[in-house]
Symmetry: none
Subunit: 201 residues, 4 copies
């Protein structure tokens, strides 16, 4: 009877979608279960049927939000072209992703804050960043192997790039005017890659 499973899955998504909207609008702590009830169109009892608590919804949502688009990113590792080209492509994609997530970004930083206090949430977030780092590190390793890049620790370089764009997203979220994505999308990674390259620029 997969129908039952389907309904169950649909309900869960319905709740998480509603929760996402509400959390973004009011912040996780300020959000009330009743808000989610209203937004989801379900009943209070239904929420508690599918999720044990508000915290359970938060935890489920972290995975839902952070992990969802990782697969597409992974594809880039195996794409054609030089490491430099592919890293630029990757950043281009990531920036596009950030823009797409604009509405959800407040949530991301609440997750980060939550991570300090919830083991489950923290582990999900860490998992996400590790995957992200691994993807980048692979490409960088390929660049080193091919003689394109100086021999640096791939993880350190990967984390530098991730940090830069995560930080950028954070600043952009605080004040959009601080970050001009058209400029910030390309120039920083250019400089980085320039600094990484074995060639004279």
């Amino acid at each position: 009877m997969p129908v039952k499973k389907d309904i169950e899955e649909a309900r869960r998504r319905q709740i998480l979608d509603a929760a996402e909207k509400v959390f973004v609008k009011r912040g996780i702590d300020k959000a009330r279960m009743d808000d989610i009830v209203q937004e989801s169109g379900l009943s209070k009892g239904a929420l508690y049927w599918y999720f044990k608590s508000k915290d359970a919804i938060v935890s489920a949502l972290v995975g839902h939000v952070l992990i969802s688009e990782m697969r597409e990113a992974e594809a880039l590792v195996h794409a054609d072209g030089s490491a430099t080209e592919r890293l630029k492509l990757f950043i281009e994609y990531a920036v596009w992703e950030y823009k797409r997530f604009e509405k959800v970004l407040p949530l991301a930083y609440e997750f980060v804050a939550h991570a300090a206090r919830s083991k489950v949430v923290r582990e999900t977030v860490i998992l996400y960043f590790n995957r992200y780092k691994d993807i980048l590190a692979q490409v960088i390793q390929q660049g080193i192997d091919s003689g394109e890049f100086q021999p640096r620790d791939p993880d350190t370089v990967a984390m530098s790039i991730i940090s830069m764009y995560e930080g950028m997203a954070m600043l952009w979220f605080i004040e959009p005017n601080l970050v001009d994505w058209d400029r910030m999308g390309a120039e920083p990674i250019d400089i980085m890659l320039g600094g990484l390259s074995v060639e004279k620029r």
Copy 2:
């Protein structure tokens, strides 16, 4: 009668110090006024005598935490040495600052999340980053003027560096193992400066 002013200032600090501890321990939203009362050793009424509301404490604290050490940073702009040297010094200082703020970092990310919903908090945070950016941009401009650096937009470069270290701090806060400050402190800025330099490395 500066004594009165002094007492007033002392009380405010007393309250903010207590609030900081409590906010770090429990998170801003979960923190109760009573926690701050207990931690501060003052009475409920005293808190409300000096601060109109919990929110006012949060706002005041943002300034207190973010701005406090900015002056030392500003000094570096006028220090001796090449732009490269001074930027490295700056980062070194910033990293040391991050380490020092370790206990308060969770707060920083709650501030970020709060910034989305509180005009006052947002403006304080923006002010902080703009000052931070201006300091860096000045040094970079000096480097460009002296022929040390390629002619890039100083603001963009400054924001890239800030983003990188802010992002790093965020990742480190989530999972200390993700960031090895000994490595991450020096290497990323090395790469960046390499990419910025007009010389062959």
Copy 3:
């Protein structure tokens, strides 16, 4: 499903009855929600489920108390007998009502004071007095039409009578000894009707 409606209505009454008792005992401002909770036997949450705030309870109660017996009064307009007889009957009824409301009278004057500051309460109170006035004015008009009374403005006369008995109730509430209802019930209206009559007394 009228059962649900019935329960809802029953709960509201339960709350209003409790609130009435508490307000009489302690005064509206001094009354605590917890008093009403205890008196009603319901929970705090239940009160707030049915009424948005303490003020909402006050407002609802004004209507409940003031309007409740108006219908019986209205019947007198269409009763048999001369206008004089019916007015006397009306007063007799009203006085009996006052006595019956003895316990609630303090409330009435708090309502009056409240009326100065709450639009909702004021409108309910005004509505009540207007209905009251209309009833009396109708009977007086009938008396004028039948040649029983001098041609006076019915509204003015009606308000005079209402004022007299409202004022009396107020004085009686302040100090029962000031008002001897056996005397004050009959004599004032006698004088009034005498002054109104076209006949020599």
Copy 4:
């Protein structure tokens, strides 16, 4: 050293005047001592120096407000003219007084409500109405003695008239449109006096 006494008296008045304004604006229960502090221009400590508590201020104010103009009224008892004329004069004066007290009326009804719960306040209010009644009763007795009025109980008649105008003031306070003083000032007493007169109208 009457200066000291004078200052003391001045301070008391200063406080009562401020309290009156505040009570009218916010209601007795909602009024804060701090409001009175601000309005009076004195300090918190000063208020408590001159009055033991907020309640003491209320009590003192009742007398201050209700009794203040009674003397002028008393003069009318010994004026020239028929009882009818003097009663009309009295009402005219009273109506003018009401208008003058417009700003303070809300207070009056809070006093009434307070009277239910404070012995001191109640006694002051009773005293006021008794004096008021005595004045009227004297004039009415004079009218009876002179053969102008039917022989009725002067107290009952006096209370009827007082009730009427007190009630009118109350209704007017609730909703000014309910009471047209130009009409209500003269007509009701006319009817009353007509009903009281031994003459055919």
